[in-house]
């Protein structure tokens, strides 16, 4: 079990945790930075100041209560649906690959891809927003075309680590995939 720190494509720190459960079963967890208190405070202050300004103009107390409600609901939705705490990749040789992301509120979404559907794991380049980044992805087999890939499943989409982290995960995965 090793825990190393890398950076993501915006320069923020992420950490990679590799666990070797067995010779052919490994788990990689990439954890993003936690929610910063500063950002939360800034956001809350902005919303409330704005609400107070509106209240000062309109003299309607419903504005203030709605501002509080909006802040609470917004933060709940953010930590439940948007903020990803860590993403993990579990590679079980000859069985398949499991990709899961867990959000800040504890919710987890998991997908399992069977080994007979997987063509390969590769590092690919893509244009993302106004940058060009490297990302790790799983290529799925196309039943009608033995040489082609029917679709691409990108991994670590929320944490987006940089190339050095991806290479480490890639080499490890290839060791297992080539054995089975």
């Amino acid at each position: 079990m090793e825990d190393e720190s890398f950076t993501d494509i915006s320069g923020k720190p992420v950490s990679l945790d590799c666990r070797n459960h067995s010779n052919f079963c490994r788990e990689f967890t990439v954890s993003s930075a936690k929610i910063s208190i500063g950002k939360v405070l800034a956001y809350t202050c902005c919303v409330w100041l704005l609400a107070y300004a509106v209240f000062w103009v309109t003299e309607n107390t419903a504005v203030l209560s709605s501002a509080i409600l909006i802040t609470l609901v917004g933060m709940t939705l953010h930590i439940h649906f948007v903020k990803v705490d860590h993403e993990s990749l579990l590679v079980i040789g000859s069985l398949g690959i499991q990709v899961s992301s867990s959000y800040a509120s504890g919710r987890e979404t998991t997908t399992f891809i069977e080994m007979n559907k997987i063509k390969d794991i590769v590092i690919n380049e893509a244009i993302y927003m106004q940058q060009i980044i490297y990302y790790l992805c799983v290529l799925l087999k196309d039943p009608s075309d033995p040489e082609g890939a029917s679709s691409v499943v990108p991994l670590f989409q929320s944490s987006k680590p940089r190339l050095d982290c991806l290479v480490k995960v890639y080499k490890s995965c290839q060791e297992i995939l080539s054995k089975c």
């Binding site: 067995s22 040789g93 899961s100 399992f112 559907k117 009608s144």
Partner: protein, 598 residues
């Protein structure tokens, strides 16, 4: 080559005995279904397995032995190992567990064609695989080095048996999926799970139902009662269909009317549903069962809401209040329309209209409104009765009430529809004329054969007449366009309202409440896939994983199990709709899909 064994969680604490299950062909894996305990007679075990094979259709066999060493059972290990000679297998598993340790010890004995045996211990020490030791002296071509690996996957048998893996139908070109086969094997082995511990038979086994079979009295009673009920309903339905097919009703006007009214659509739709529900044969397969269940639940909810609506409507004399409010409302609408027309006949918004055309069109439409108002006044004494009887239809379901409301709105606003059609036709003619004459202006014409615009030389008199007509049409355009615009807007308002009603009817009809309820209460029944968790392992044992069922997302459930309806959805995209409006084509934005039998 990694060996994968699917082991049921209920057998974790079972007494020592034989492992019964199924080797999956071509996958290097096996599913353990039950454990048959010691003492047993091998002949009876073989007979029992033969019987189970024919009943379930699954290739059952003895996979190996299972032992939890207890007090006074020291010779069990060697006894179980010798059993491998009685039940000849290519591969004999020996799983054992010591109380206090979490991991299992796994031992695999391979029997090749030569009859010699080689055993490999899948033990791990410090991450390295121990080498195999050969028991027989014969040379074997295969090199079984340190590559022998095993994964033990624990699964919860009851949930896997009841679960349905989605997508349900897989195209044949896809490679065979191991997990799908595991699920299917467990589901088909139901006959195996009837033998429990408390039977008097010679064999005792452990599986998820070994504590006794579960059943429910209410379910049994309902099952008994449903058959005569279904027969009754299907008899009633056949009578009704016979009446409907009466030749009198096949006359053209009635048929045309009934195809336009949404109430008739809804009625035929519900009849179809009742026919599905009332068939005596039980549903074969998962999809027909879910369809039936969804239909039943939606029908019940529909009727419940309808009865609720009725109880609200018939209280406090509400019907007469509504009836009394309806006539003044219709009058008010007519008066507003008249005022609108008067305004258009004057100088609307400061625009100057062509006086003659204006007067003609305005008077034409005013006459229509006058006719309509007289008609409404004629009907006024009957409105309350109509409403009263119409409200009764809500007992059939709220969807009927809503369809009836939509039809009544359509009937009451029939004049707006007529105005729209007149205005649109006039405008459309004008636009086509203008575009054709515009081409003439530029010396081109439309080539119908080649579907393109060609150049063409016209005679002088053709050009002269064409230009004259063009000017006339152009200057009359604002008047027509204004009338068209006004009536199109009115028609769109009515269409929107009807659309809302139809959409809500559609939602009530097609929403799969049963499936959503199943997803909420028993999520393992609708499975999208599986997820694995590594159980904490101890050094010296194989890899242990826990397989849990990953349920389908709610949105996927709704999409998958939607009852197909004559769904009302917009026929054209926004761009096409705007283009049609601009050119003056008649728009029927909500399309009714004809009920297809699926």
């Amino acid at each position: 080559m990694v060996l994968r064994i699917f082991f049921p969680q209920c057998c974790n604490q079972a007494d020592s005995g034989l492992l019964v299950g199924h080797w999956m062909p071509g996958h290097d894996s096996a599913v353990v279904l039950a454990v048959i305990h010691y003492p047993f007679i091998p002949g009876q075990v073989k007979q029992y397995l033969q019987q189970m094979r024919s009943q379930s259709g699954v290739e059952l066999s003895v996979l190996g032995s299972w032992s939890i060493p207890k007090e006074g059972q020291e010779h069990m290990e060697s006894f179980l190992r010798d059993l491998s000679t009685i039940f000849p297998q290519d591969c004999w598993l020996q799983l054992s567990r010591t109380i206090g340790k979490m991991g299992f010890n796994c031992h695999v004995i391979y029997q090749d064609l030569n009859g010699s045996t080689t055993s490999c211990k899948a033990a791990k020490k410090n991450g390295k695989i121990k080498g195999c030791d050969r028991e027989s002296g014969e040379d074997n071509e295969e090199e079984l080095g340190d590559e022998e690996k095993m994964i033990l996957i624990h699964y919860e048998q009851r949930k896997v048996m009841q679960s349905q893996l989605h997508p349900i139908e897989v195209p044949d070109t896809d490679p065979p999926s191991e997990l799908r086969e595991v699920f299917q094997t467990v589901a088909r082995s139901r006959p195996l799970f009837f033998l429990d511990r408390y039977d008097d038979g010679p064999l005792k086994s452990t599986h998820w139902q070994s504590q006794g079979r579960e059943a429910s009295i209410i379910v049994e009673l309902l099952k008994q009662a449903s058959v005569p009920l279904c027969l009754l309903i299907s008899w009633l339905l056949s009578k009704w269909t016979r009446i409907c097919n009466f030749s009198l009703f096949n006359l053209y006007p009635l048929r045309f009317l009934s195809s336009k009214l949404s109430t008739c659509d809804q009625w035929s739709y519900r009849t179809e549903h009742m026919r599905t529900l009332s068939s005596v044969k039980p549903a074969a397969g998962h999809t027909p069962f879910m369809r039936k269940a969804n239909i039943l639940v939606s029908l019940l909810v529909d009727v419940a809401l309808g009865v609720l609506l009725m109880s609200w409507l018939y209280r406090d004399n509400r019907i007469s209040i509504i009836a009394n409010a309806l006539l003044p409302a219709a009058d008010h609408v007519a008066k507003e329309l008249e005022e609108l027309l008067q305004w258009l006949m004057g100088a609307p918004a400061g625009l100057k209209m062509n006086r003659a055309l204006d007067q003609v069109l305005g008077r034409f439409f005013l006459y229509h409104i006058h006719l309509w108002i007289s008609y409404i006044h004629l009907m006024s004494p009957f409105i309350e009765t109509i409403l009263w009887y119409g409200g009764l239809s809500a007992c059939l379901g709220i969807t009927f009430a809503l369809s009836l409301l939509s039809d009544m709105v359509a009937l009451l606003t029939f004049h707006i529809y007529c105005f729209y059609v007149y205005g649109a036709r006039l405008y459309c003619l004008k636009i086509y004329g203008l575009s054709s004459l515009w081409r003439l202006f530029r010396g081109k014409k439309w080539n119908v054969l080649r579907q393109r615009v060609d150049s063409c030389s016209y005679d002088l008199d053709q050009l002269f007449i064409g230009t004259l007509l063009f000017t006339i049409l152009l200057f009359l355009l604002p008047t027509t366009a204004l009338y068209y615009l006004v009536f199109t807007l009115l028609r769109l308002v009515v269409v929107m309202f009807q659309g809302v009603l139809h959409l809500s009817v559609d939602i009530i009809n097609s929403f799969p409440l049963f499936a959503v309820g199943l997803r909420v209460c028993q999520p393992y029944q609708l499975a999208e896939g599986v997820k694995f968790r590594v159980l904490c392992e101890e050094p010296g044992t194989a890899l242990h994983l826990l397989m849990e069922i990953n349920p389908l997302k709610c949105s996927a459930v709704v999409q998958r199990y939607r009852v197909p309806t004559y769904s009302c959805y917009p026929k054209d995209s926004w761009a096409a709709l705007v283009k049609k409006l601009f050119v003056g084509e008649l728009i029927y934005p909500w399309r009714h899909k004809t009920t297809k039998s699926d």
